[in-house]
Amino acid sequence: MPKCTVNGIEVEVKDGATVIEAFMKTNESIAHYCWHPGLSVAGVCRMCMVEIEGNPRLQIACNTPVQDGMVVYNNSEKVKEAVEWTLKFHLINHPLDCPICDQAGECGLQEYYMSHGSYDSEMAERKVKKHKVVDLGEKVVLDTERCILCSRCVRFTDEVTKTNELGIFNRGDRSEIGTFENRPLNNKYSLNTVDICPVGALTSKDFRFRQRVWFLKSFETICQGCSAGCNVQAYYNENGFYRVKPVPNEEVNGHWMCDEGRDVYKFANKEHRLVSGIKKEDSGLSHMAPGAAAVQLREDLSDTKKAALVLTGQYTTEEYLKFVDSFTKNYGNEVYHWINNPKTFDDFDGILLRGDKNPNTVGLLRVLEGKGIKSSWADLEEKLNSGQIEHLVVAGPENLAVFPDLEEKVTLFGQAQKLTVLTPVKSKFYESADYQIPMKSFMEKDGTFVNHKGIEQKLGRGPIVVSQALTLLDLSMILDGSDFISVNSASMGGSL
């Protein structure tokens, strides 16, 4: 464990660690574009210059291993001047079109350009014109003029996905990032290249031009897309959620997340949400407040002799604990686990993507085990077919895209005399249900998801989109006999 001194702060690092890692450990700022903690060292941007005591020349921090007793600093005039000149080289052919660039506001180049403030270029030559708006694949757009050739995206496709779609073509100031003929950038992790791009060269088609980043607020939470449980940052403003980005967590997702997971914000937005409780009556559908619908459901259930509950792995552990508890206490031990894709359930692609498209299957199984419930899906089908179940309550999924069997299953559930669907999102398949009660999405509630490894992770609560929607906790209070929902769980915190 070598020790070194970074800008006067003593720090101990792992064997073989580089100087830039020592800087990261001390939170001292150091300019860098090509270095990324999740990728190999390229040493091409030359921005992370540091002065090492006893060494007459400046060194790059990302490719210099720490030796015991090293004294390093990057706040001397010599280093500052070197960084400034390197930046000027980067800006020779960069168009500096920050106003229309989507990266503006979170761009490394813009940040240093503003701090060094050389607004008048010293170059007399014209900028080299390159290709703009190059379509790289289904999800990514490239602007080669803005690219500073840090090669992070190339290394990402080399090292992480091992698909090698991207390469650097041509030489000198005509070098460009590009794909090979007939081999577009279409892997399942392609949007990570957008995240790691330090400038606005790679942009996401989904987010491109939809919002300037400085209008967005963010919070950290857990991805809902599969059982990997990637840590993510969700960005929103008063109009809803806009995008999701990965947050580094070595134990769970490293630095990455998949492209599917980046769509999880969509169903949490208002246009996809069920906003009022719906009860089917002889005269048609009647809309009411979710709490009122839940109270009517309770009255309906109390007359029922045979009620059953179907759960999907899309709710939090706390909700399962309380809801399964109050359901079994009031209406008997019929609780079933709906597995959406039994054939691909245990798949794993070797990087992050899991076949189990529910964030909290392990949490649900733990709760069911704790309550000693061992019912199988075949039992439910048999009981439904023979008409033994009078009232079926289904805690439906949030992410309908990963439930390809939704229509088939809702038809199956329809065999019960009465069907209640608890769901955050609206779907035309639910129209036959007797009760539809809106639930909060994972963006709007506290709780715990347990990922496939059994790691428990807390959700971070974001803004409330549908304030009147319930959680399973609220619903279990109502089923237990309470007629009002506590202020605590209904809508605390900010609202959209």
Partner: protein, 174 residues
């Protein structure tokens, strides 16, 4: 406000003051009747006072030589706006050298405080404040100006063109 009363012999009497005042009234009446061009008042709203071109009134979106909007939808005006009255929806342009353009640009003119910060923030001279300011409307919605109002309203005669165009800018290597 304090009123200073000058005490002198004339102000003690009622009529001299009245006659002096009426004298001014009749003098102006005769002047206005005989030389109407020099009359100071206007027959508003049929006649309106013309403000100088630098008056900061209602916004104008400038256009390029081909008549399309100059605005690149960078949203710096909306960012700088202290009244939060500018709403822009950006979209991808077919021409890669333009790249981004607004498909919707709205200014809520009732919210606007006419500070001119949008004009100052604009990096491409796409928004200016013009000399018009008295625009009637029947309800709140008619004060939300959209692109057709901001750039192509009849009084602008097909749009105000900027000096430098994209083509020239690209040719000049800027």
């Amino acid at each position: 406000m304090s009123i200073v009363k000058k005490e002198n012999s004339l102000s003690k009497w009622y009529l001299p003051g009245i006659l002096k005042g009426l004298g001014i009234t009749f003098r102006n009446l005769i002047k206005n009747l005989t030389s109407r061009d020099e009359m100071l008042t206007l027959n508003y709203p049929e006649e309106k006072y013309e403000y100088g071109p630098r008056f900061k009134g209602n916004h104008v979106l400038t256009v390029k030589k081909d008549g399309s909007l100059r605005c690149t939808a960078c949203m710096l005006c909306a960012t700088n706006c202290p009244a939060d009255c500018i709403t822009i929806v950006a979209a991808e342009h077919d021409d890669p050298s333009v790249e981004k353009y607004p498909i919707n640009y709205e200014i809520d003119i009732l919210r606007c405080v006419f500070c001119g910060f949008c004009e100052e923030a604009c990096p491409v001279d796409a928004i200016r404040m013009g000399p018009e300011w008295q625009v009637p409307g029947v309800n709140g919605a008619s004060f939300i100006n959209n692109i057709s109002e901001l750039a192509y309203r009849p009084s602008l005669g097909g749009g105000i063109k900027t000096v430098l165009d994209d083509e020239e800018r690209i040719k000049g290597g800027i």
